[in-house]
Amino acid sequence: MKPPPFQYVAARDQEHALQVLGQAGGDAKILAGGQSLMPMLNFRLLNPAILLDINRIAGLDQITVLPDRLTLGALVRHRMTATDPAVAARLPILAHAMTHVAHHTVRNRGTFVGSLCHADPAAEVPMLALLLNAEIAIASVRGTRRLPAGEFFAGPLTTALEPDEMVTTVDLPTLPDGTGWGFAEFARRHGDYALAAVAVTMGRLAGRAHGVRIAVMGVGDTAARLPAAEAVLEGNNLGQLAAAVAAVRAAVDPNTDLHASSDYRRHLVGVLAGRALTAAWERAR
C-alpha cells in the first residue's frame, strides 16, 4: 500500500512536461489530481519509471468562457467545475453532474481532464464529454492535435492518447438557450462509483423533441452515446418514452460484477433513462 519507486519530476511549464514525456520512452505517467492514479500506485497496479507532476504548471487551472464554448485547462479541479457560476449558467447539466463526482475532499484535488484521461467506464466525466461533444486538445513534442470525445475512448481505462502525449485543454460547446437536460444516477452510496447513470439534453419545438442526445455510463466497456435510442425520440413527443427506454436497454451490454448483475444494470439504466429523458423534456423550452 505504498507507491513503488519512481523518478519524480515536477514540470516547470508545459514545454518541460512535453520534453519529459517525449524522452520517457512511454514509461511516464502524468500526475494531476492523483485521485485515481495515486490509488493505483499505492496498490502497485502501475510501476512507471517517471512520475511527471504537472500541478506546478501555471495557467492550466483556468475555465475560459467563450461565446460558444467553455474551455477547461488540464488542472481545473472538480470543485471549480462544480461551483463556477459560468459553468452553472452555460452548462447547468455539467454543474449538476459534478456534485455526483466523488466527495468534497476528492473534488478539491481531482481534475476534469484527469478523469477524462483515466477513462473509467463508470465515471461521470467521460459520459459528459460524449454528451456535450467535447473536443480534446492534445500536445506532444511532435505537435498538437484535437480529437472529438467520440474518438477518444478506446476501452476500459484506455484512450487514444499516445504515451508521449498530454491533454492540455478540453472544449465543451455550450447548448442553445432553452435546451433541456436530465441527469439520473444510481450509486450504492452517493459519490461512490455509480452502478449506472444516464445524461440527456434535448430541445423542444412545437411539442416535439429535437437534437436529442443520450449518454450512459456503467453499462459497458466505455461511456457511450446511444444514437439508436436518440433517434426514437427525435421529432417525437414524450409519447415515445417507453420506446426510447426500450431502445436504451437494447443498446447496452453491461458487465456482471460483485455489485450488480448484467440484467439488473440493464433494467436500472432503463429506469434512469426514463427519469433523465422526462426531466430533459420538462426543462426544455
Binding site: M1, P3, M38, N108
Partner: protein, 157 residues
C-alpha cells in the same frame, strides 16, 4: 532524494525525502505528527484527511514532495486536550466518536467545509460527511455535532 520545506500548523519543517513518500507517512513518520490516521491508503475512508493550502485533501493520495512550499493543517493544529476547539468540543458533547480512529479525518474535512459550505440543512451536512467512513457511531451523533458547530459558526459571510 528531494529536499522539501513544508509548513505544518505554522511551523516550517525541512526534510530530505523519497519522491514516492506519501504525505500521510511524512506527517506521521518523519514529523511524528501521528494524529493523522492511515486507514485504507487508497482514498476511500477519509481518515488521513488534512488541509493543504486551504483545501481538505486525502494525505494518502498526495506525495510529500507535492507539499513542498505548502501550508498544511493537521488535527494537531485544531486544539489541545485541555482546550478543544469548538468543532472538537461539539464532537465530544454529542458523542460523535467511539473508537476515535476516523475522528481526525472527520475533523479536518469538517474544518474545510465549515469554512466554505453553508451546511444549512441535515441533507447538506450528510452530503458533506459522505467522503468519510465511521464504523462505530452510525453517523447520527456526527451529524448532530456538525449541526451544532454550524450554529456556533453562524452564517457564512
Amino acid at each position: 532524494m528531494i529536499d522539501i520545506a513544508v509548513t505544518v500548523n505554522g511551523a516550517v519543517y525541512r526534510r530530505r525525502v523519497e519522491g514516492r513518500l506519501l504525505l500521510s507517512d511524512f506527517l506521521r513518520n518523519e514529523l511524528g505528527l501521528t494524529g493523522t490516521h492511515v486507514g485504507c491508503e487508497h482514498g476511500v475512508c477519509g481518515a488521513c484527511t488534512v488541509i493543504m493550502d486551504g483545501d481538505s485533501i486525502r494525505s494518502c493520495l498526495t506525495l510529500a514532495v507535492q507539499a513542498d512550499g505548502a501550508a498544511v493543517e493537521t488535527v494537531e493544529g485544531l486544539g489541545t486536550t485541555g482546550a478543544l476547539n469548538p468543532l472538537q468540543k461539539a464532537f465530544q458533547d454529542h458523542h460523535a466518536l467511539q473508537c476515535g480512529f476516523c475522528t481526525p479525518g472527520f475533523l479536518m474535512a469538517c474544518t474545510d467545509m465549515l469554512r466554505r459550505l453553508k451546511l444549512a440543512t441535515d441533507a447538506e451536512i450528510r452530503e458533506a460527511l459522505s467522503g468519510n467512513i465511521c464504523r462505530c457511531t452510525g453517523y447520527e451523533h456526527i451529524v448532530n455535532a456538525v449541526r451544532e458547530a454550524v450554529q456556533q459558526r453562524g452564517p457564512l459571510a
